[in-house]
Amino acid sequence: MSLQRLWSRGAIYLVLIAFCLFYLMPFYVMFITGLKPYEDLNVTRMWELPDGIHLDGIKEAWERVAPNFKNTLVITIPAALISSLIGSMNGYIFAKWRFRGSDTIFILFLVGMFLPYQGILIPLVRTLQVFGLYGSQVGLIMVHCIFGIAITALLFRGYYAGIPNELLDAGKIDGCGFFGLYRYVLLPISMPAFAVVLLWQFTSIWNDYLIGLTVLSSPRLAPINVAVQNIAGSWSVEWNVQMSAALIAALPTIVVYLALGKLFMQGLLAGSLKG
């Protein structure tokens, strides 16, 4: 390796490490601040490690957000499951049962997915109020399922489009109809797609703030991100509690991302239609 090449390789690694420090910095600060006791929250020593592991901040934060953490699970898991099932059916139809106008419908789904929710919120709130679903977890689950129709259909459609038609023809010869083909031919080989879609939906519903805030903001029932914002927005200076609450809110998606990063990437790239 020539000297010049050594230099340029070294420079590349240095720049990459600098970027990584930038992207890790907020996590580092959240982590060390969360582990400090209230007395040690000194602005001049913000970057220094805590002098030991103090769990007061995390305990206090957990006491305040635990109900919301459970609420978010109660909302996110059913919503992710139901919307994945709907998406799988719709993706199957868009990929394998195209009829006149189905491509147009698909594009209209996608356009809808992109538009900001602010143009939808007021009628949404009014409609949920009329049906008695405003301020209820069922209402929020339903809204997440509806807003998930497009992205889940997109991801499943892409996956099913890659499955050769010959496989379905074989199923047809065996006497399978619309549901039979889905149930016996596609569903058994759909697990990779389900994993990607479930992961994607879980992450985006867990991380939602706007819809939870407008549809389900009562402190006891609200999802976790609303609760964390309430703690942060109360102008309290208990930074250790704030950081701990943020860490608790981030933990499930961080764990999922680290454990299943590859699936996360697949969703990221396949769903590059989504913002």
Partner: protein
Amino acid sequence: MAQGERGRAASPIRVALRRRARWLHGDTALAVLVLLPSIIAVAIFIYGFIVWTGYISTVKWNSSIEDYTSVGLENWRTLFGMERFRWDLRNLVLYAAAFMSQCIIFGFLIAVLLNQKIKGEAIFRTIVIFPFAVSGVVTGVAWRWLMQPTTGINLILQRIGFTNFDFQWNADPTLGILAISLAAGWQFTGYIMALYLAGLRGISDEVREAALVDGASTYRLYRHIIIPLLMPVTFTAVVLTGMGSIRVFDLVMILAGPAFSTDTLAFHMYQATFGQYRWSLGAALGFLMIFLSLFLVVPYMRSMRGEVER
């Protein structure tokens, strides 16, 4: 060809399929039926509601009592005359410029560096995309602490020699919005990087080698070959980050600065509607956001059409 078709049609399997075709037609009807609830849901909950929002923006519903008395374009005139609305537009421009360039320049740069057969590439990649796994609220809370004027980033900069550095970040009365775009870019760059990295991996080595054989420098290789080849990715990145600029809300909620210095359309919409019960004014803002987004969504869908109708 025609003979071939006839030949295939004569095979017993084809005959069986043809016979089934009429019955399959019933199956297509079934497919439409299964899709129907989703079509209705999207038609009502997205498109119907957008039209409804547009309608609300033309009525007198600016108190907690629902009032559908038509007032024409009065809400729109009110909106366009508001000082706060001018701040929203100014902030949209500043935010979009800063956020989009941060995501696209950093995203592209990191992707190019990661594509140089780096040891530990997976670790670097995981770290850069990491912020995208957490919510906007978590991002905001962490950055609010980092942007405290008396500590955080300022403290580090003062320690390393910039002793006079005392930018107020999100609390700055004129440039606070840029602090918010920095936090947003921190979160979203990894996504753009992943798109560019996938794009770079899609360019075959032969293209590079051919260029290098022709004596192109690395700079010329990127300037005249790689960057033009990646234009579709850049287009996607512009659309995604542009869309993110129009709708930014979570971060503003947490990092809001003094007066309207960090106000955005989405934040204004939320406060007007759910804070002041000026539903019709909020509807005008929401509808405007949809309208602005269409300038990005429609060209994007046009470019996607080939892919969709494969």
